[in-house]
Amino acid sequence: MKWWGLPAKIWMSCFILLPFLWLVLLSLQPTAASTSITTFDLHQFSRALTPPYSNIIIDSVAMSFLAALTVLAIAVPVTWSISRMPSKKKNLWLALFTIPLGLNFVVRIYAWFVLFRPEGIFSRALRGFGLDFAFVSSQFGVFVGLIYGYLPIMFLPLYSVFEKMERSQLEAAQDLGASTLQRWWHIIIPETRSGLFASFLFVFVPMLGEYLIPRMIGGGLVATLGTQIEGQFLGSGRPNWPFGAALSICLLVAAAAVLSSSFILLSRQKSEKSARWSIAHLD
C-alpha cells in the first residue's frame, strides 16, 4: 500500500523537478557550446538582464499583465451574471462559455489570424467602418490575440469563485440601498479578492511564456520572452541552450514575483481589514 504513490512521485520528479533543476544548472554555463555541466557563472544572466533582452522581458511582463487584466475585466460581468441565474439557464450559458476551452488552441489562433489578416474578412469589414488597425505583425495585434486566446480559460475559475461567495452580506447591502458600484467596491471585490487573483494568475502565467500567438499573429516581427526562448533552442541561428535556459529561469522568476507580490498585497489588506473590524467593534 505504501508504495502506491511512488510511481507518480518518481514520474513527476523525473519529468518536472529534474528538468527544472537541469535548466538551472544549464543556465549557469558560460558558453553556448557547453552541453555538460562544468562550471558556474552568471554570464548568461547578466546578458539576459541587459538590453535588448531586458527590454523584451519587461515588455512581455507588461503586455501579459495588461492582457490578463483585460481578460479579467471582460469576463467578470458575464460570469457574475451567470452565477446568479436559475440553475437550468445557468448550465446552458456556462456550457456555451466553456466549450471554446475544448477547441484546439492552434486551430483557434489560426482561425483568428485568417479573419484578421489585412485581406481577411473581419479586418476588411472593420476598414469599411473606418477602423484601420494592424491586427497582425504588430505588438497591438499580439496583445489582442493574447486576449482572444486566453479568454475561455478565465470563465470556469471565475465562475467557481462567484459561485462559492457568501451571499448574505450582499443581500443586506442591497436591502440597505447600496448602489451597484458600492456593492462591487465594498463587498464583491473584497470578498472574492483571492479568487480573482488566482484566476488572474491562471491566465497571466501561461501568457508570459506564450510562443504560438506572437509567432503566428506577430509574424516573426514581435519579440517576446516566448519567441526568444524558442529561438535559443530551435531557432534557425546558432542555438544557445544555456542562454535559453537563463531566459526561462527569468520567466519563472517574473511569474513568481507577481505571485508573491499578490500574496503580500492580499495578506496586508486582510490584516488591515481585520484591524479596522476590531476597532469598529471596540467602539
Binding site: 502506491w4 512521485k9 458575464v78 484546439n104 492552434v106 501561461p206 535556459a245 519563472l252
Partner: protein, 285 residues
C-alpha cells in the same frame, strides 16, 4: 425607476455575452465552413464541395499525423490513468494530511507551470540525460517515445486531480459492509472499490486523451530531436507556415477540433456524475 435601470443592466449584460460568444465562436465557424470550399485557395469561397475532405483523407502526410496523435494519446492516457489511480489511492489512504497535501501539490505542478518551460525542460533532460542513458542500455528513445513521456506528464496532472477528487465522495460504508460480510481484500478491491470509481476513470481517461491531442508545446519542442515526428497540431502549424494555403488546412483543423472537443466535453460531463450515476452538479475537477 429602479426597475428600468435593472432591466437596462440585464440587456447590457445580454448584449455583452452575445458579443463575446460571437467573437469566441465566429473565427472557428468560418474555419470549419471554409473546409467545404470548392476553391483551391483557402480564402476564396467558390461553392460547396467535399473535394478537400476527399483529398485530405487520402493525404499520407495527414494520415500519419493523425495516426501519431492517436497513438501518443492512447499510450500516454493509459500510463497517466494507471499511475494517477495508484497515486489517488495512496493519497486517499494517507493518514498524515500534510504528507498527502504535499503529494497533491507535487502532482499539480504541470497544471501551473508555463507549458513552454515544461517543454524545454523535457527537451533538455531527454537529449542530455535520458536519451544517452537509454541508448547505453540498448533502448533507442526516439521522438515518439519522448513525446509520450511528455504527454503522460501533462495528462498525469489532470488524471491524478480528477481521481483524487473522486475518492473524496467515495462511500467507505460499502467497503466496511463488504468486509463485515466476509469479503476478501481482492473481492473488496474488484467488486466494491473499482465499480464506484468507474465514472472517475472514464472522466480521467477522456481528459487525458484531450490534453494529449491538444498539446502543442511539448510535441513541438520534442519532435525535432532525431527523426521529426508530426502530431496533428504540429502538422497544422507546418501547413500554416507554407506559402500556398489550400482548404486542406481547414479540413485538418476541423477534424482535430471535433475529435479533441468530443473527448474534452465527455471528460467534463463524466467528472460531474457522482457514484450513484446521477448528475451531482458539482465538478470533480
Amino acid at each position: 425607476m429602479v426597475n428600468r435601470t435593472s432591466r437596462l443592466k440585464k440587456i447590457g449584460i445580454l448584449v455583452w455575452s452575445i458579443l463575446l460568444l460571437f467573437i469566441l465562436y465566429c473565427p472557428v465557424l468560418f474555419l470549419v465552413v471554409f473546409g467545404f470550399n470548392a476553391s483551391s485557395y483557402a480564402l476564396r469561397w467558390e461553392g460547396f464541395s467535399l473535394r478537400w475532405y476527399e483529398k485530405t483523407l487520402e493525404n499520407p502526410e495527414m494520415l500519419s499525423a493523425l495516426f501519431n496523435s492517436i497513438m501518443v494519446a492512447t499510450v500516454s492516457t493509459c500510463f497517466a490513468v494507471v499511475i494517477g489511480f495508484l497515486y489517488a489511492l495512496w493519497s486517499h489512504r494517507q493518514q498524515n494530511k500534510k504528507i498527502a497535501a504535499a503529494g497533491d501539490s507535487l502532482m499539480s505542478l504541470p497544471l501551473f507551470m508555463p507549458e513552454i518551460v515544461i517543454a524545454i525542460g523535457l527537451l533538455v533532460v531527454v537529449s542530455q540525460i535520458f536519451r544517452p542513458a537509454a541508448s547505453n542500455i540498448g533502448i533507442p528513445l526516439d521522438s515518439m517515445g519522448s513525446i509520450i513521456l511528455g504527454h503522460t506528464t501533462l495528462a498525469l496532472g489532470y488524471a491524478a486531480l480528477v481521481l483524487r477528487n473522486r475518492f473524496k465522495c467515495y462511500d467507505l460504508q460499502q467497503e466496511l459492509a463488504a468486509i463485515d460480510l466476509g469479503a476478501t481484500p481482492r473481492q473488496v478491491f474488484f467488486r466494491v472499490m473499482l465499480p464506484q470509481l468507474v465514472p472517475g476513470f472514464a472522466a480521467a481517461s477522456c481528459l487525458s486523451f484531450a490534453v494529449s491531442l491538444d498539446d502543442f508545446y511539448v510535441s513541438y519542442f520534442l519532435s525535432t530531436g532525431g527523426s521529426s515526428l508530426q502530431t496533428l497540431p504540429i502538422y497544422i502549424w507546418s501547413l500554416q507556415g507554407r506559402r500556398a494555403m489550400t482548404p486542406e488546412i481547414n479540413v485538418v483543423s476541423s477534424l482535430l477540433l471535433f475529435i479533441a472537443a468530443f473527448f474534452f466535453a465527455a471528460g467534463l460531463l463524466l467528472s460531474r456524475i457522482d457514484a450513484t450515476g446521477k448528475q451531482s452538479g458539482k465538478d470533480h475537477l
